[in-house]
Structure formats: C-alpha cells, structure tokens
Amino acid sequence: MAEAIFDEMGKPGGEVRRAYRILQAWLDETPHDILTLRREEAETVFRRIGITFAVYGEGGDPERIIPFDIVPRILEAAEWRQISEGLVQRVKALNAFIADVYGQQEILRAGIVPRDQVILNDTYRYQMQGVAVPQNVYTHIAGIDMVRVGPEEFYVLEDNCRTPSGVSYMLENREITMRLFPDLFSRYNVAPVDHYCDELMRTLISVAPRNCIGEPTVVVLTPGIYNSAYYEHSFLADQMGAELVEGPDLYVMDDIVYMRTTRGPKRVDVIYRRVDDDFLDPLTFRADSALGVAGLMNAYRAGNVNLTNAVGAGIADDKAIYTYVPDMVKFYLGETPILKNVPTWRCADAEDAGYVLDRLPELVVKEVHGSGGYGMLVGPKATREEIALFRERLKIAPEKYIAQPTLALSTCPTFVDEGVAPRHVDLRPFILSGREIRVVPGGLTRVAMREGSLVVNSSQGGGTKDTWVLKD
C-alpha cells in the first residue's frame, strides 16, 4: 500500500492540487530562513502565552509546547461540505445510541449491538440508567478523528464522546498563522473558526437543566493546573466568560450545586466538565477522588444541574462499539452512513481473531480501551519480537483487541529540518450538540513530525497544523 500514499498538495514534481497552488507558489518564493524565523517566533509566542500541555512526573520540562507546523493544511469547500454532513449524521446517531443504551435499549433488543459488549463494558455507567438528560443529548462536544487515503476517501478512525481536547490548538493555531503570515492568509478565502467559543456557550446554555431558574450559570470544571489539558480548560472558560472551577470550589446542598464566591454561594446550572466520570463524585464513583464534588450525581439526577458531556457517554466511543456506528446510523436515522469506518476485525469474534493472527505483520492492532497511541501494534513497522509478543497477548485475551488494515494516511507538506517535506496527518473536527448541531469548519490537524511515522499523538511527538477550509 506504501506506494499509494496520497499527498494533499500533490506528488513532488507532479501536478499541484488546486487548493494548494497559491501555497506552493508562496513556499517557493519564501526563503527557508524566513520560515525558520517564523517558526521560532511561533514558539516564543506559545511559551509566552503559556500554551503548553503539562507532563508532570516524567522528568524534563513539565510544561511542553506541542510542535506547531507553520504550513497550513487546506480543504476545499466541497470536500468539507461532505465531511461536515457526515459528521452531523454520525453524531446524531451516537447521541441516539447513548440515549437508547440508558433508556429503552432497543438496539440491544434488536440484536444489532451485542448486549454484553455494552453492559459489561468498562465505560457503561449503570447509574445513568433511566436518567433523563436535557434535550436528550449526551455527547455535547464530540471530536471525531478522521484520516484520508485518497482525493475522495475519508475514514473515521475513532469517535471521542467524553472530553475530547485540542480545540484550543485549533483556535490558537489560526491566531498565530494570521499573525505570522498575513500575506499568505489574505491570498486565500478561509472560513473563520473564531466563533467556536460563542457556539460552545450557546450549546451549553441550550442544555440548561429543567429546574434552572432564569439565565443559566455555566462553569468549566477542571482537574487543575497539573492536568495536561489545563491550558485548554482555562482558555475555553476565558473565551466563554465562564468561571473555571475545581472540585473544591463547588459543593452540593439539598441536591443543588453551588460555587463558593466572594459574595457567598452561587447556584450553578451547567457544568462543562473536563474531569473523567470516575472522579466526578466520590459518593458515586471513586471514593478517593479529590477532583470531584460529593453529591453531584444526586443533583444531576434531580434535574438541578446538567453535566456536559453526560456521564456514561464513553459507551459510544469504545473501540469495540465503534464498529457498530454505521449500523447505528441506519438503525436510528434510517440513512446511509456518509462517513465510512475503517474496516475492522473484532478479535472477540473467533473467526476474525483467526484472520488477524494470520496477518499480524500487515495489520494495526489496537487495545479496545487504549488511547493516546499506547498499547498498539503497527504491523508493518514492528519488529519480529513485538509481533510475537502481541500474538501471545491476543491469544490470551482476544476480546481486548481490534485490528485494522494499515491505512496509507495522506500526507501534507510540513516544514521540518530538511525543508518542506510530506508528513502523515489526521483530522479531528469538533461537533457541538445542544438544541441544534453545529460544526465549526475545519478542526485540529495533527501531524507526525517524523518521516514515515503514522503516530500523530501529541504524547508521542506529534505536532499540529492550522486547518483551512476554503469558502466557495
């Protein structure tokens, strides 16, 4: 498959794709030392503003910068239109699925998704069974990871329905690009993204709990400054004009959530929480959690507060459940899925497992509950020992794994030490669901900075790019 890698700008020496022509000309006329200078400038700005992700306890710099690649990625209006329609459809189905799982469970009774895959899943929260949530929305902020393999071919790699992060990088990358390259930017007609936080606020307000009186008070709940995404939490709170609270800032009395303010207690209606389910309420979940609020779940169930994303939303982004999303689209919406899944073998199925064991060197094997690119085997890049090790693991607990073909991820021109060279990318658009569904054009492009690498995760040296969606 390696020879079929699709480059979004066009093969070197070949024809440059339409959206990239101006960029190509600009790259040709701009000396590399200017690009280097701009890249350093970008890094200085990120440091000064404090746009970092925190990695404590690993030694080295505790607050790191995610490498920012100065060359933007460009999508045509028509390309984006199709993606965007597909995203709305997919998120509708995901929400319907979560609502169904915690409601009537029709999809389980219809035998489309196996009951055990849901009920025995670590991400299933029985505490949510029968709890009504405002507007029936569970994943208010979803991040759908997509990859591209050809001009028309996009695949969904995974759904993130819990607390997807990265949107602040999408916004800051745009800011910095406009600041560093106004000349290039103005030669294109790029759809803006800076209304994201307004849309987010509107979404959160639209899902105020039923017992909310008057204008809802919205807060962002963060685990605190040692969380890797802390910058994003503070950024979003700031942009929305909402308080950024930590667990100890909140308390529950008579099933109502209050925050401690200098004027005394203030009632809270909507909590955009960036704390995982397990840590939300020590009375319901992990008793040792110091990040949560005792009694929060009671207030939630009483309809006195809304949590976004909903507790238990993770059931829809489990890698085993992922394989059923196209079926969900058909089941709940009666539509044909616009976005394709990557063909996936579920090793829980004996026949699939046999197939996978025979073809380990060609496949990507992922742990069902893994994330961040950990616990993953990339067959074609793995050593014989690594493959042997995974074979043993697979035999012991096949239900913990899924496998996919190695995709020839598209590449985009990227400014690296050797100059401008193709590097593999993915895309994480963000979808907001409240009373309506909204998608801001583009998303976060992650790029594997090392040549040939397919791992784009920031925890493993991946970088980001500004993503431009062109207007017609």
Binding site: I49, G50, S234, P248, D249, R260, T261, R263
Partner: protein, 314 residues
C-alpha cells in the same frame, strides 16, 4: 468571583511584593557589608536580614552562621524556604496559572516571563556584581507586575483583592524593617538623637526605597526619630504604614460597596488606619517603638485572617 480566584489574586500580589521587599533588603545588606562599619554592627546586618524576613528559626536549623553566602542562598534561591525569592516567584506564577482568566494579559505575561527566566539565575551567577543584577531584575519584575495591575485591571473586586495583597504584605514588611533594623542601629547607650552612622541609617530608607524621598521632605539630615516618623506616619511616603493602611481601608471600602456588605475586616482596617491617622509620633515613642510596631504587625496579621474569613475561603 470564585473565592479561590480572589484568594489566588491576593496571594500572587503578596508573593510578588514579598520578593521585591526581599530583593531590596538583600541589596541594602550587601551594600552595608561593603561599608567600613562605624556603628557596632559587624556582621550583624546579615543576621538581622534573616530576622526581618521572618524565617530566623528555619534558617538556623539549616545553618550555624549568617554568612553572606548562606543568607543569599537561603533568602534568594532556596526551594525549601517558602519565602525565598525563587519560591515567591514560583508560587505567584503557579497561582497565576490557576486563575489566569482573572488576570490581564500584561499581568500574566509578566509573571510567566519571570518564571521562565528564573532557572537562568543561580548562586554561581550572582557572585560579585551578579547579585545586584539579579536583585534589580527581581525589583523590575515586581514593579512591572504592580504597574501592570494598576494600568490594566478593571476596577472591580478582582483589582481590589490584588491590591489588598500588595498592601497587607508591604505593611508587614515596612513595620518589620523598622522594628529590626532600628534597634540594631540604635546603640543601647545612645540617646535618641545621638551620633549615628550615616550609611547605616540611610540603609533603612533605601530598603523601602525612601532615601531620596526622605531628603525631599526633611531638610535636616538623617535623624532616627524622623526616619521613624517618615516610615510610620507620613502620608506622602508610599511605603509608610499609614499609606498602606489607607490603601487597605480604601480597597475594603470599595469591596464593601460592591458587595453591599461589611465585615469584621472593615472594622480592623479602620482601627489600624485611625490610630496612625490620629496618633502622634511622640506617643509612639512614649509607648515604645518596638511595642507599637509589634502591635501593628499583630493587627495586620489579624486583618489578613479576617479578609480570608470574609472573602477568600468561601
């Protein structure tokens, strides 16, 4: 606003002010140690600096002697000393990161830049003339933060909590410098008004950035009782006790108006201000300068606790 946010703003300002005061004190001490000692203070200035900074006990648990190296290391760089300059800047920046949405860009960037530059300063780099460059840098950071606060922050609760931190800390610092250094310099046998060492006395003023200001107000040279009056009761002097008390009272009044409620802290602030405003410096000396200052420091501590109770703990 969140109580925790108010608390962080208050402590950011306190720690930055503390770092600046430490820098001034160290600077003066270092300068003093270069002078031929006239009064009977040989080596005592380093010890007294430890006393002023309020960490006498912890210091002598770690060191036997207050040598210049030990004191500079402990007060400027020691991560185990929560009030070392380095700890102050780190704590202020950590607090700032936790409440950065409540800070203006200028305030945040000033604190962040100070924190980013901090690793570049260490004991070996401040040997010799490096010390003064370091201390000047600390002072600059603080002035930039304080100036940035006044110039860019909206005049509402967040501003008044920040300013309260600055003045509560400054109030404490001026009182301590006066208390410790004054007694060190005033020899037991000398009458108030006896012969004094010009450099030594000037150092008290320099420590509160008041040397030239003093000369602008008093035309008769340095006199111990005038220095005391200057630092306690002169409203023109921005680091005097009365100036701090007036600012504190004003901040609390504004908060009281904004929230429509007054607390015990308002009463204590009024009490501290009034006894300076309507007191006489002769009475201070009659009571005993040390007793007066000890009482002042005590009241200031009590005020800090009451501010916490009313606003910062939630």
């Amino acid at each position: 606003m969140l109580s925790r946010t108010a608390d962080s703003l208050y402590w950011i300002a306190r720690y930055i002010e503390r770092a600046e005061n430490l820098a001034r004190t160290l600077r003066v001490t270092d300068r003093l140690s270069l002078m031929p000692s006239g009064a009977d203070t040989d080596g005592n200035e380093w010890h007294s600096t430890v006393v002023v900074s309020g960490c006498e006990q912890a210091f002598y648990e770690k060191y036997d002697e207050a040598t210049p190296e030990n004191v500079i290391s402990y007060l400027a760089f020691d991560p185990e000393n929560p009030s070392s300059i380095r700890s102050c800047i780190e704590t202020a920046r950590r607090n700032a990161r936790a409440v950065r949405t409540a800070l203006t860009t200028e305030q945040w960037e000033c604190l962040n830049a100070a924190w980013l530059a901090l690793p570049g300063w260490n004991e070996s780099r401040v040997r010799g003339s490096g010390l003064h460059r370091f201390l000047d840098w600390v002072k600059d950071c603080s002035l930039l933060f304080t100036g940035g606060t006044v110039a860019t922050m909206l005049r509402r609760d967040s501003y008044y909590f920040t300013r309260l931190g600055t003045f509560i800390e400054r109030n404490d610092n001026t009182a301590r410098i006066l208390d410790v250094k004054y007694h060190l310099l005033l020899p037991d046998h000398a009458e108030v008004g006896g012969g004094i060492d010009y450099y030594q006395w000037a150092s008290i003023l320099r420590a509160v950035s008041g040397h030239r200001s003093y000369n602008a107000i008093y035309r008769e040279g340095l006199k111990p009782w005038l220095i005391a009056e200057f630092l306690i009761m002169r409203e023109e002097m921005p680091r005097s006790l009365i100036s701090c008390a007036a600012e504190i009272r004003n901040c609390l009044d504004r908060l009281g108006e904004e929230y429509g409620q007054r607390h015990e802290c308002h009463r204590i602030a009024g009490q501290i201000h009034s006894r300076l405003r309507f007191g006489k410096v002769e009475d201070v000396f009659r009571q005993g300068l040390h007793e007066f200052l000890a009482e002042h420091i005590d009241l200031n501590d009590k005020l800090g606790l009451e501010i916490s109770r009313s606003y910062l703990l939630g």
